[in-house]
């Protein structure tokens, strides 16, 4: 028998329980600042509701701008969680144990803001339910509504299921809000039968959630690709957006992990190896993203269709060139230079790369949405679109509120899956040892 992992007798995962039990002044300050942004956003949004979408910088022909960019961006980030967590679970990657919860929470929270971005963009949000009363199933936006709803539901379930044992732990600790945890724990006591059911359920969800996640961002991309507008109507959009989503999602995840690692002193749980591996994944996605972008733009350029060339040139050398080339630097040049060097794939290095990528990916969404609209076929272009202060404040508000929700979550639920860490410590070593031995040449081991 392989000995259990060396456990320092003093190691008891107490630090994982701390956020829920102790609140520092730093938390209140952070929450207060974030709440300010949230209030500002609400105020600005009500003004927009009162006056109309005219308070934005949108005009003919750029009917979609920052809000739709936010929508695509946020839905993209949602791929971080579920996809990463599900894929890593299926691949039995043991280093995932400390990051799955954080990832899943990102997904659930950010999807709300993705949907929220669309609602903010509507001229008549009070009629949004018309999408349920009079749906037109040929519309990609209806497909969006369906798939995001399913994804959200699935993600919530996929977040909740592995949360149950942790809730049981918290309930058993009996320190705070015990009745709350008791209600949510659904009477989980860790019996063999319960464990089996739970693990089966989690496994099923892990498999089910992957195609749903892929479909979500594919369908978001089809909102653009299903029109006939130049440089939107491209077959590559489906895979392109999924790759971009995973790319931006991992970057967001790395930033989130780095922050909670720092704030909650989780250095023992979120080790260099996690960041290194995530960094490697990020590097792979960066290369993939670059491949897709390059293929897309090269084919457009080579084809020289006049309508598409107008838009391509406005991106490469025209009014949108500064944004376009910043995007290339942020999404490819900087991350690849950092992440390709093992020495730099540390916490700091990956965080820097992720920050650049997050900004760059937001720009990428913007560059996809706006230039195609700004050069219509038959009508004179009106110049370049400038977002108004309303759009900027709402975007900042969304980000702040998302962070606020995330922070509140960490205060109520453990942000690192405690039972999985414990499981990893107790059983994983053995399982991995068995698995790897089975790969090696030699007779099958009879247990």
């Amino acid at each position: 028998m392989y000995p259990s992992a060396a456990v320092e007798p003093a190691m008891t995962d107490e630090v994982l329980f701390e956020p829920m039990e102790r609140t520092t002044p730093r938390f209140y300050i952070t929450a207060a600042i974030l709440l300010c942004f949230t209030m500002m956003m609400l105020g600005v949004y009500f003004r927009q509701l009162w006056k109309g979408l005219g308070v934005t910088g949108l005009t003919i022909p750029v009917y979609w701008g920052v809000y739709i960019t936010n929508f695509v961006f946020f839905v993209g980030i949602s791929h971080a969680g579920t996809l990463i967590s599900a894929i890593l679970r299926i691949c039995h990657a043991e280093w995932r144990r400390s990051i799955t919860r954080a990832a899943e929470v990102i997904t659930v929270m950010v999807l709300l803001f993705g949907a929220g971005s669309v609602i903010v963009d509507l001229g008549h949000p009070d009629r949004a339910l018309n999408m349920i009363f009079h749906p037109n199933f040929r519309s990609p936006l209806v497909w969006d509504m369906c798939s995001i709803t399913v994804y959200l539901t699935g993600s919530v379930v996929y977040l909740f299921l592995p949360l149950i044992p942790d809730l049981a732990l918290l309930r058993d600790r009996g320190k705070k809000r015990v009745w709350f945890y008791r209600t949510l724990a659904l009477g989980y006591t860790g019996t063999e039968r319960q464990k089996r059911i739970l693990e089966k359920a989690i496994a099923v969800m892990a498999i089910v959630v992957i195609p749903i996640a892929v479909s979500v961002h594919t369908v978001v991309s089809w909102v653009f690709a299903m029109t006939v507008q130049p440089m939107w109507h491209s077959t590559i959009f489906g895979p392109y957006f999924v790759v971009g989503a995973i790319f931006s999602g991992i970057a967001a995840l790395i930033i989130a992990l780095a922050i909670i690692r720092n704030v909650y002193h989780l250095e023992q749980y979120l080790k260099d190896i996690q960041f290194n591996n995530l960094g490697l994944l990020l590097l792979v996605m960066a290369l993939l993203w670059f491949y897709f972008t390059f293929a897309e733009h090269l084919t457009t350029f080579y084809g020289s269709s006049p309508e598409e060339m107008r838009i391509l040139m406005s991106k490469i050398s025209g009014p949108y060139a500064p944004l376009f080339w910043t995007m290339v630097v942020c999404c490819f040049i900087v991350p690849v230079s950092i992440l390709s060097q093992p020495r730099l794939r540390s916490v700091k290095g990956t965080v820097v790369a992720s920050a650049f990528i997050t900004v760059g990916m937001w720009l990428e969404r913007f560059i996809i949405v706006v230039p195609s609209l700004s050069q219509p076929r038959l009508v004179q272009s009106q110049g370049i679109y400038y977002p108004s202060i309303t759009e900027i404040l709402i975007t900042l508000g969304f980000l702040a509120t998302f962070i606020l929700f995330y922070v509140l979550f960490t205060k109520i639920f453990p942000i690192i899956s405690i039972w999985e860490i414990q499981e990893g410590r107790e059983k994983a070593l053995e399982e991995v040892h068995e698995r790897v031995s089975a790969y090696m040449p030699g007779p099958e081991k009879v247990a």
Binding site: L49, W50, P125, D126, K176, V178, W179, Q380, G383
Partner: protein, 783 residues
């Protein structure tokens, strides 16, 4: 269940927060719904159709007005009205916006100084003020201490004004230029005025023209009566009707809408109209293509001739042959010789070729010498007084009974500016916002020194900004309207229509105001205008016309064709039997016209000293200021000739030429405050409106680093102003188009911008004394 304090707070907070959120969100959605709901409509009322006559420009198109519940909802063209035949230009379409404009002045306003706030006054009070000021002027001084400027088109109201002023003691009514003055006077010199010395109007029979040479007129942007001209254009391009498509060739420096829509745009250097026309004449003469029959039998001054005093004069032919060789013309105009040859041949190849021009816009009517050159082309084609050509017709418009004297009318902008500069005691402005637009800031300033400035504006415009008494007029829909044949229209016409609705507020039709003013002045004046109200005056004017032995009340097109046919065979069936029946007929059907008033046979004799069409106009020679010079020099100054534009400023410092023009939205008078018209003011520049702009060519723009929509400085030797730049790729380099008009300077949407007049250096025609052109040297640079 153990609840400690923390849990309680948590639970309590959550509960309250949740409830609050719920309540707020429910209430919020309710409020939201209310805020976002559209207003319900109440029962609108009965739908009726009425006729009216437009007065947005002096053209006077027939309108068909749809009213619902007594409110005007839509204005369209009257299909029975011969001038526009069912179509109307966008200015008439926007009439409801004028009628119900928030800047409408609905009661008389007065103030002591232009800087003070307006105060509402009563009509009696206001008329009393004006009459008092007028009576105070001693009789001997009334000629120049009362100045009246009226941009209203001819009609009964203008006759009332003339009669009132004659009785009062002034001798001039200043009208605003129509743009056709130079061409009209030129034709008057060459083809003679009416036999009885009565007024004439210059008309074109463009319906039957097959080749139209347009020397710079903005045909599609307000020339003549816009709806009629547009209808003509549609007819020209409709080969199914006449079997042939009329060719339109546009000469001019600016790539205007007319130039773009013409069959060919011949770009020529600014001001070189005469050179171009005489170049074409050269081709016609040297290739023997001109109408020999007409020229030999009906014109004089073509060949060299000797006058009664034994003096030898050169003829038109000699002048053209010697001085307007194609090489010289190409140099003067920039037109390649091949083009001139080709165009000239095409001009005479088709029967019914006509030359229109030069420019004929109110701000640039053109110079006499240019107009003489253009008309000489018409003579060479033999179309003066002929089918498809140009003619001087007797001006049989509306007249009041017993109206022998004709007060002098002056349409010279320079004369008006002079009269106003002399600081009269009273200045009356009637539909004269165009005058204000043509004044530079200094001239406008000087108006504030006139003690009493009265305006009839129905809406806040540039005249109300300088006035201290407003006697608000109505829109044409609220008053009895009359119309007559517009200046370039070929047929005689008289029309009348009832008001469509009551005047809004306390505004009053100008005709009524004049009658009331007459009554407020001394009894001698009142006696001359004895009618109770304007409709009575109209009827009094109409009844004498019933004695005419021609013409028809408006009918459907089929009826007209039949009637024309009958008349050709010598029959004329009157549509009326008495004066009253005539009045009733024109009231019901809208008017009377004579489709056969265009000369049926080409004109053979002309009421000139020689009895012929004069290439060398003898009356002009008698007037000519060059009396000192003699011989060839003298002949040259009288015959049609090219005169270089006198431009102010150094050509190197100001390398570009600004060519002012009037877009359809702003043509003639203030329509600046009407939103729909602002939004369509330029077919080129994204039509956004509310800003003044200039048009520059792509090449100039590239050279100066100016992009479309940039704000630039336009500087001339007289000053500089800021304008938005619109780049027109295909325009001729070196020429800058300068539209007059722009955003309203008063009222709800006022944006005060310096007028184009601030930088213009206009030219006056030395013989006619009217403004001939306003082309100015400028330079452009980014702001």
């Amino acid at each position: 269940m153990k609840l400690d304090r923390r849990d309680f707070l948590f639970l309590g907070g959550g509960a309250v927060g949740g409830a609050a959120m719920g309540r707020i969100s429910l209430k919020g959605i309710g409020l939201l719904n209310e805020a976002l709901a559209s207003e319900p409509l109440s029962d609108p009322g009965e739908e009726k159709f009425a006729s009216s006559i437009c007065r947005s420009c002096s053209g006077g198109c027939g309108l068909r007005v749809r009213t619902v519940g007594g409110k005007v909802v839509k204005v369209d063209g009257n299909p029975l009205y011969p001038v526009n035949r069912g179509g109307v230009c966008p200015r008439a379409q926007a009439l409801p916006q004028w009628l119900y404009h928030p800047d409408r002045i609905l009661s008389p306003q007065r103030r002591d100084k232009a800087a003070d706030k307006w105060q509402t006054a009563s009509w009696d009070n206001s008329l009393h003020t004006l009459a008092g000021a007028m009576q105070k002027i001693p009789a001997a001084d009334r000629k120049n201490r009362l100045v009246v400027v009226s941009g209203r088109g001819p009609g009964v109201a203008q006759r009332l004004l003339s009669r009132l002023l004659t009785a009062y003691g002034t001798d001039t009514v200043y009208t605003l230029p129509t743009g056709l003055e130079s061409a009209h006077q030129a034709l008057g010199f060459m083809a003679g005025s009416a036999k009885d010395g009565g007024a004439t109007r210059m008309a074109y029979n463009l319906e039957n023209s097959r080749c139209v040479l347009n020397f710079g007129c903005d045909l599609l942007e307000g020339w003549g009566t816009p709806s009629h001209t547009h209808w003509l254009f549609g007819r020209w391009r409709d080969s199914s009707r006449s079997g042939r498509r009329t060719t339109l060739i546009h000469f001019g420096p600016r790539f205007s809408v007319t130039a773009a829509r013409a069959d060919e745009w011949v770009s020529l250097k600014t001001g070189a109209w005469a050179a171009a026309a005489l170049g074409l004449a050269y081709v016609l003469i040297s290739e023997d293509l001109y109408n020999k029959e007409f020229v030999e039998n009906c014109t004089s001054g073509f060949e060299d001739w000797t006058d009664s005093g034994g003096q030898r004069h050169i003829g038109f032919k000699t002048l053209v042959r010697e001085e307007y060789r194609l090489s010289r013309v190409a140099e003067l105009t920039g037109i390649p010789s091949e083009t001139l040859v080709r165009v000239a041949r095409e001009f005479v190849n088709s029967p019914g070729g006509v030359a229109i021009g030069p420019q004929q816009s109110p701000s640039q009517p053109g110079s006499l010498s240019d107009a003489l050159a253009v008309h000489s082309l018409n003579a060479l084609a033999g179309n003066v007084g002929a089918r498809g050509g140009v003619a001087l017709l007797p001006d049989n418009g509306w007249r009041l009974p017993e109206d022998p004297e004709q007060i002098k009318t002056s349409g010279s902008l320079e004369e008006i500016l002079r009269a106003v500069a002399q600081r009269p005691d009273v200045l009356i402005l009637d539909e004269a916002s165009w005058l204000l637009d043509m004044m530079n800031s200094e001239q406008r300033e000087s108006l504030s020194r006139i003690p009493l400035v009265v305006t009839s504006a129905s809406m806040a415009d540039s005249t109300t900004a300088v006035a201290n008494l407003v006697l608000p007029d109505c829109t044409p829909l609220e008053s009895w309207s009359e119309g007559q044949a517009p200046e370039s229209y070929p047929f005689e016409l008289l029309s009348v229509s009832e008001p469509v609705l009551e005047p809004r507020g306390e505004s009053r039709p100008w005709g009524e105001t004049l009658l009331a003013l007459a009554r407020s002045l001394d009894p001698a004046v009142a006696a001359r205008l004895p009618w109770k109200d304007f409709s009575e005056a109209l009827k009094a004017a109409a009844v004498p016309l019933a004695t005419r032995q021609d013409g028809y009340v408006f009918g459907s097109e089929v009826d007209e064709q039949w009637e024309r046919l009958l008349e050709r065979s010598g029959w004329w069936n009157p549509d009326w039997k008495s004066g009253d029946e005539f009045w009733k007929g024109i009231r019901d059907k809208g008017g009377w016209w004579n489709p056969l008033s265009w000369p049926a046979e080409p004109q053979r004799t002309f009421p000139t000293p020689s009895g012929r069409f004069e290439f060398y106009p003898q009356r002009l020679a008698a007037l000519s200021p060059d009396k000192a010079s003699a011989g060839r020099e003298r002949d040259r100054s009288v015959l049609p000739r090219h005169v270089e534009l006198a431009l102010v400023g150094d050509a190197r410092e100001f390398p570009l030429l600004l060519d002012p023009y009037e877009p359809l939205s702003f043509y003639g008078s203030g329509a600046r405050a009407i939103p729909y018209l602002q939004q369509i003011c330029s077919p080129y520049g994204a039509g956004r409106g509310w800003l003044s702009w200039v048009e520059i060519s792509g090449e100039d723009a590239r050279r100066l680093g100016i992009r479309n929509d940039d704000t630039i400085w336009v500087e001339s030797a007289k000053g500089k102003i800021r304008r938005r730049a619109i780049v027109i790729d295909g325009a001729m380099p070196g020429v800058v188009g300068g539209p007059l008009g722009g955003p309203p300077t008063t009222g709800l949407w006022a944006t005060v911008e310096p007028p184009l007049a601030d930088i213009l250096a206009p030219n006056t025609d030395p013989v006619l004394g009217i403004r001939s052109s306003a082309v100015t040297r400028v330079k452009l640079y980014k702001a």
